[in-house]
């Protein structure tokens, strides 16, 4: 087959046809969008009005049910896009309205039969739909959905697995202790999610918290230390301190921060001894902690540190810590041009 034949009989017709098909799809897609959008906007406005009225009205359950059933006939509720709009609006109202909105939002969620929709997502083979289903339950704090999430606690996929743990904890914060069994690493996003749940729902201290810091999973150890600091749990201070010798830099960082938050004063000497062998990040954190728990020993330590040729970030943090501890003591450096400038810098309140 020569080149001209291939070009004229295969390649060019294929490329030409592809071009035409793409153009048709592109234009049709826009025309359909333009055609559907006003209708969608209208339905959206109706849903907004209806749900807002519903939330602020004191209907009995039966009355609410009949109102919803009537409304479902007014909108193309069987369409997925319509269900999505209703669901997102319920989530929006639940998130943004203060007061006891949970019960009403759950009633509306059930009456619209959206729980079954969320279950269908959880049963889907597509992982992102599973995550979406979990998101619905989490956002609405819909505890009844927990059983549909628990099978994912043992899922091999990291994202699904971690999402399931977060959903279960979010739905039943009192089950926070469940996290102790989590085997995989927890990254910053997961930690933020967990801490957010704890801050918002303030669950009771997990019964097994003392075991967390002995877990074989470094992420759980780290999280355990953070939780102890959050709950002001001082029973395990000695166990926390032993982790200053951990090989994991992030665990040591969590310990240094916890020492500050739990005011474990008797670790001053250990922190000073640890300083030279630590990473820059941890050194900065040590200085911050020493500013809170330090005594004359710390002042002496920082005084000597500032005389050494060290990294300027460390120096600045040292000056900040020292001036926080003893603003008179820092005046000893008044003749040192660099440190004098640092002193001026740390005095600026907005920096």
């Amino acid at each position: 087959m020569d080149l001209t034949y291939s070009l004229t009989h295969i390649i060019l017709p294929f490329l030409g046809l592809a071009f035409l098909v793409l153009i048709v799809i592109l234009i049709l897609n826009r025309l359909l969008f333009n055609l559907r959008q006003p209708k969608i906007n209208l339905v959206k406005a109706k849903i907004d009005d209806f749900l807002t009225t519903l939330v602020f009205s004191a209907y009995e359950a039966n009355e609410l049910k009949s109102k919803i059933n009537d409304f479902k006939k007014e909108i193309p509720f069987k369409k997925k896009w319509c269900k999505k709009i209703v669901l997102n609006k319920i989530i929006f109202l639940k998130r943004n309205l203060k007061g006891d909105i949970i019960k009403t939002s759950h009633l509306i969620y059930e009456q619209f039969d959206l729980f079954n929709y969320s279950i269908s997502l959880l049963k889907s083979k597509k992982k992102y739909l599973n995550c979406l289903g979990m998101y619905h339950l989490k956002a609405l704090e819909y505890r009844k959905g927990k059983d549909y999430v628990t099978p994912f606690l043992n899922h091999k996929n990291r994202i699904l697995n971690s999402s399931a743990y977060l959903t279960v904890i979010s739905l039943e914060p009192e089950n926070l202790g469940l996290l102790y069994n989590y085997q995989k690493p927890i990254f910053l996003a997961g930690e933020i999610n967990i801490m957010n749940i704890i801050h918002q729902k303030k669950p009771p201290i997990p019964g097994n918290l003392k075991d967390w810091i002995h877990s074989t999973n470094p992420s759980i150890v780290r999280l355990g230390i953070k939780l102890m600091a959050f709950y002001n749990y001082t029973n395990e201070n000695q166990s926390i301190i032993t982790h200053l010798k951990s090989d994991d830099e992030k665990i040591r960082l969590a310990v240094i921060t916890a020492i500050r938050q739990l005011f474990i004063f008797d670790t001053e000497k250990q922190l000073i001894e640890l300083f030279d062998t630590e990473s820059k990040n941890n050194q900065l954190e040590i200085l911050k902690t020493l500013a809170v728990i330090g005594s004359k020993d710390t002042e002496e330590f920082i005084y000597n540190l500032l005389k050494k040729p060290i990294d300027s970030d460390i120096k600045l943090k040292a000056v900040k810590s020292l001036s926080k501890m003893n603003s008179n003591f820092i005046e000893n450096f008044i003749g040192n041009h660099e440190i004098s400038k640092m002193i001026q810098h740390v005095k600026i309140p907005s920096i």
Partner: protein
Amino acid sequence: MILKNFIEYYEIFVAVFSSAYILFYMLLAVLSYYAIKKHLNAKYFIHDDVLLKSNYIPGVSVIAPAFNEGANVVYNVKSLLSLNYPKYEVVLVNDGSTDDTLEKLIKEFELVKIDFFYQEKIPTKTVRGHYKSTNPVYSKLLVVDKENGKSKADASNAGINSSKHPLFLCTDVDCILKNDTIIKLAKPFIESKKRVIATGAGIRISNSCEVKEGFLVKIRFPKGWYPRFQELEYVRAFLFGRMAWSQLNSLLLVSGGLGMFDKEIAVKAGGYWHKSLGEDMELITRMRKYMYDNKLDFSVKYIPESLCWTEVPGNREILIRQRVRWARGLIQTLNLHKDMFFNPKYGRTGFLIFPYFFAFEFLVPILEAIGFITLIISFFYLNINYESFLYLTIAVYLFYLNLTIISILLDEILYKHYSSVKEILILIMTAIIEPIFYHPINVYASLKGYYHFFRQKEQAWGNMQRQGFNTQNDN
């Protein structure tokens, strides 16, 4: 005879080269689709709202260099101060402006000079002072006043040195950022398993957009032909190319107009190189090199969303000036880091990205020029098969066109930035004529850039002449 042999060998070379080019682009298309899908599917793992309420997210410094921006600087800073992120600062660097940029900032934001301890981790021109507002409303603003360094790189470096957060976002002061830009760009740093060293996102054209006091009021389709051609280029490059490169963890270019970086790595890599004409690409290259040299696992991520609107050259003269600079920046970076080529130490940067940039970015304009000359010679001296040539040309043209239309389609399905069928038809028309009217200008500019590089012509920053935005009336 020699000429005939040359043409024959050249034909074979071009056939192999073009096939590789086409295959590569097809692969990029598949990867891009996969990466976009992955990005969209991941959004429910951690909701933006959770991050926005958290005390545990990393802080971000938004660095915006300004040179003689007195006309709009106040609006632009207000726009930057209104971004939605709980822990950020705006570091505006006045790069020795000769107009009233600094005076306007001092007056509007009630600034006073402070005793800032400036740590010159990256060498810059002399910093004259730092200013903070006495009004708590503007507590997030830090203004750095420095001597002009004749480059955005030098001003950005002064901003990095003055910033306090572990991540920094570099932008141009006249760029209009979407309200959720910081959270979108910071999210990969929070979510990723590997250490993310930089993130970027899509940039769109603001030339015809309606802007009021630094805020984008209405997105409008570009009116002039040159902005329209660039609109096509941006959609294709950002949504198509960069997403695919991001999927391969091989992104080498995060735009100067919008990019977020890990400060520690950027500083250790030496910051922006003030002599570079493609400082954004050069910084990423150096950051990658640093990570490889220190055997640290890393990734550079790209987000398939348009988060920034910027003004692009509105006429041929400014466009050529910009593209000459870009071409020079490309060859400068490739030359500066030539030790990375096929060096096992640099992994896919050495074996994939650099060879790609050399072959399909640097060489293409040269080959196109040689091809054109060869065609003219053949016309006079050789008996070439015009029929095959014509069909081949049409095939290449249609392939190129299909790629562009796929990009527009992807953009339409995902974001629907255009408001009507008319705008889409104009865009299709623009795509049809782009290879004939616009592409040759780019080839010319690239060759001129290479020529300037080899002649070591003194480099200078071309001032981008801005037309300004359509402003909405108050009434």
